[in-house]
């Protein structure tokens, strides 16, 4: 464990940046505007798409879900409670300020200041102290082992210390200065954010000179702008609009499986039919994921049978195959459990939070009816729905929800959603879980306190096997994100939903 953990450098990626020829302007249309320009004070994709172009993280997410050393060049665990980070030299912010160990420490301190919490502060509650060990070396000390430390480094973006100390956080939140490939030019709220290429970027000058983010809430207006050449990339293209975009000759639909899984949580309350694992397995066999994906999602979705997906650390393919669609088997299992004539339960779904969520829920209800299980669907507006979920006051026996794992690590799904709080003196139960399994809890708790990655993988594999047998959810599918991309742009979407303009070029 004391050996340095040298994270693989991806030299291919590094040299790619140098080959870009500079030109032009690219307009990106999202559904909503950014809410802030402070990269560490939000947890929203549309805002992140803007700030990720202005700021650099300590580690960068690779398109396969792996990690690329970014402003941290090397991360070494000194012991279970200490990480030593080597920082990249020669990085400057857009205002000329240098990036060094003091600035990195300032950034961690800013996130752990309990008087002024930021929206990503909860990632760093276990950090007790950050010490400067050299001009480009810091040590991060944690109160307990933090197994997801490395992957969390993708979510901390370096901000300039002097600029913020001189101008204040509020000024910074609307006039950002970063070290990333693009510098901030202007932000007219609800109209546009304009960024310009930062030619002195340490990774190489970006190819496209100017990036404009425009909020266009209505999806058909986004499509109309795309096919008339008004914008170059649009997010959340609906499956119904794909033929129009492809047929225009102006743009193509571009898809990527996302980090987000969609599933239905079954409230296992200790009584009723849903308390019987055979019934829960029966429901999983009764749902035809492939038909739902083909008919409601335009074919864009990947059926799955576990809480994880292939991007996540801890994923095991053999334990994540979709439960086969087998109504016969479902009926057998129901009969074994004593529900040969089926039963009735209630199911909740949001409307419009995830791609065609209500329609998916309706299809599930229809498919369950085919094996004699009557689900009463109650659709709600998202803000009250999510409130009920978080307060454990959801009035239905089952509820559809999606989970986008921001850390690409099993912990952020398995612990966050399935830890039942059965361990005495341990963390309290997750608000999302209705399953209480002491064995599973012990595995999940050990995994998040284990820095040895191979051991963690074993623990998650054991945990997945337990979850698969208990089937606490109806597993549905991994969402696929659909973008509309102008034919004049060369760009591929990413699984973490980010639009990193440095990757794009004009054809």
């Amino acid at each position: 464990m004391r050996q340095p953990l040298v994270v693989a450098l991806s030299i291919v990626v590094l040299t790619l940046g140098m080959a870009h020829a500079q030109s032009g302007r690219m307009v990106i249309a999202q559904g909503v505007d950014a809410t802030t320009m402070d990269p560490n004070d939000h947890r929203e994709t549309p805002t992140g798409n803007v700030t990720a172009n202005i700021f650099d993280p300590l580690m960068k997410r690779a398109v396969d879900g792996g990690l690329i050393p970014w402003l941290v060049t090397e991360a070494t665990p000194i012991d279970d409670l200490t990480w030593e980070l080597q920082l990249r030299e020669g990085v400057t912010f857009h205002n000329g300020e240098a990036f060094d160990a003091e600035v990195a420490k300032f950034n961690f301190d800013r996130l752990t200041d309990s008087d002024a919490p930021l929206r990503t502060s909860d990632l760093w509650t276990s950090v007790s102290e950050v010490t400067v060990e050299g001009p480009y070396t810091i040590r991060v000390h944690t109160a307990r082992p933090l197994a997801t430390f490395l992957t969390q480094l993708t979510q901390i973006f370096m901000v300039p210390q002097t600029y913020i100390e001189e101008n204040g956080a509020a000024h910074f939140a609307s006039n950002p200065v970063g070290s990333g490939p693009y510098r901030f030019v202007r932000w007219a709220r609800d109209q546009e954010v304009v960024l310009a290429a930062f030619d002195d970027y340490w990774f190489g000058a970006p190819s496209i000179q100017e990036i404009v983010f425009r909020p266009i809430p209505e999806s058909s207006s986004r499509v109309a702008e795309l096919v008339t050449g008004g914008v170059d990339i649009i997010t959340n293209l609906s499956p119904e609009a794909v033929p129009l975009v492809s047929g225009s000759g102006q743009a193509v639909a571009s898809t990527v499986p996302s980090i987000r899984n969609i599933f239905i949580v079954l409230n296992v309350t200790g009584e009723g039919p849903l308390d019987d694992p055979r019934v829960r397995l029966a429901l999983n066999h009764a749902v035809d994921k492939d038909t739902i994906i083909r008919t409601i999602l335009g074919g864009d979705g990947v059926a799955n049978g576990c809480p994880l997906n292939p991007y996540m650390y801890g994923y095991v393919e053999a334990l994540c195959d979709p439960f086969p669609f087998d109504p016969e088997r479902a009926r057998e299992l129901l009969a074994e459990a004593g529900y040969a004539d089926g039963f009735t339960f209630t199911m909740g779904s949001p409307d419009g939070r995830y791609l065609n969520d209500r329609q998916v829920a309706e299809a599930v209800v229809g498919q369950l009816a085919a094996v004699g299980v009557r689900a009463e669907l109650r659709v709600q507006e998202w803000s009250s729905y999510v409130g009920q979920v978080l307060e454990r006051s959801i009035p239905t026996d089952a509820w559809l929800i999606g989970w986008g794992n921001s850390q690409f690590d099993a912990d952020n799904t398995m612990f966050s959603l399935l830890y039942g709080g059965t361990i005495e003196g341990g963390a309290p139960r997750s608000v999302f879980t209705y399953m209480y399994d002491a064995t599973l809890d012990a595995l999940l708790a050990e995994a998040r306190a284990t820095v040895d990655q191979a051991r963690r993988a074993e623990l998650y594999a054991d945990g997945l096997a337990l979850v698969r047998d208990a089937a606490p959810w109806i597993f549905l599918y991994q969402q696929v994100d659909i973008y509309g991309v102008s034919t004049r742009i060369d760009w591929d979407p990413r699984p973490d939903e980010l639009i990193w303009a440095f990757d794009a070029a004009l054809r």
Partner: protein, 305 residues
């Protein structure tokens, strides 16, 4: 007159206070803003830290007192979503909203009043039928459908006007038509009815019998008297157009206050909702006052003592 205006202004203050209080109470009832503000898996400690930093852990009455005290000084606090002063965020979007509402209303008056007069003057003729059928259509078409059709025809097919956005006169045209059509139709119907009623009245007959010119009778006498209900509706519509342009703003990506407030409500951004309610209440109360005062000039019989 002056005493009346002062009294009305005091009433405006009461209305604004009432609206501010109502907004506060309804928001308190709507649920915990932290549910939507923080990531779903935020730990309890982080939630409590946030609650304290936003002052949401204080007793409700204390929060209400602080809110009113600060609101009087124009401080509605910091937006929970945007980390910027709430009142500034609302006011920042007012020019776009006023522009759109003003243009929509102008469009409605320019189309609606002449159409109503023409229909009244051609009572029972095909022209009246045509104008009134169009007015019925204008009131029945849903705004979102009209907006999308305008985009389809002028943005996508003919490509003569921008599809979405803000900044130039061209950008204003499609949203203005989408927003103003309903009101134009309403004004046309109201004007026709008003003018018809006035044309039947005694003074018009007298004026005509005195040999006054037909056009003068219509425009100087009948239309002026028919104007009172029309002006009332225009005043009411201005409020609707300002706050209710949500669909138009959404379709054309117009950076107005309507959609902004809608998002703030759905995200429980208390300071922004409270600031906007107060701004709108004050604005509408003023518009009503102006409408009432305009009666003085439209109808000499009206007196405010």
């Amino acid at each position: 007159m002056l005493a009346y205006v002062v009294r009305r202004l005091l009433l405006v203050a009461v209305v604004v206070w009432g609206a501010a209080t109502l907004a506060f109470v309804l928001l308190q009832l709507s649920g915990d803003p932290l549910n939507l503000l923080l990531p779903l898996d935020a730990t309890p400690e982080v939630r409590e830290r946030y609650r304290a930093s936003l002052g949401l852990d204080r007793p409700v009455l204390v929060q209400y007192g602080v809110y009113l005290l600060n609101a009087v000084q124009g401080d509605f606090g910091t937006s929970l979503r945007s980390a910027a002063p709430a009142l500034g965020l609302v006011l920042e979007r007012m020019p776009a909203s006023l522009l759109l509402a003003g243009a929509g209303l102008l469009f409605a008056v320019v189309i609606g009043v002449p159409a109503g007069v023409v229909a009244a003057l051609h009572r029972g003729k095909p022209l009246e039928l045509g104008v009134m059928s169009l007015a019925l259509l204008g009131q029945s078409i849903p705004v979102f459908w009209l907006g999308l059709m305008l985009i389809l025809v002028f943005g996508l097919q003919l490509r003569v006007l921008p599809i979405s956005g803000y900044g130039s006169a061209q950008h204003l045209i499609l949203p203005m038509i989408a927003l103003g059509t309903f009101t134009a139709a309403a004004i046309a119907r109201l004007t026709r009815n008003g003018v018809l009623q006035e044309l039947r009245s005694d003074y018009v007959r007298t004026a005509r019998s005195k040999g006054a010119h037909g056009r003068r009778v219509v425009y100087a006498h009948a239309l002026r008297n028919a104007a009172i209900p029309v002006v009332t509706v225009i005043g009411l519509q201005l409020g609707t157009l300002l706050s209710g342009a949500v669909i138009t703003e959404t379709i054309f990506a117009w950076p107005g206050v309507g959609r902004f407030v809608l998002i703030a409500v759905s995200q429980r951004d208390f300071p922004v909702v409270q600031a906007s309610v107060v701004v709108f209440a004050a604005l509408l109360a003023f518009v009503n006052l102006i409408v009432d005062i305009s009666y003085l000039f439209l109808d000499p019989r009206v007196r405010y003592a």
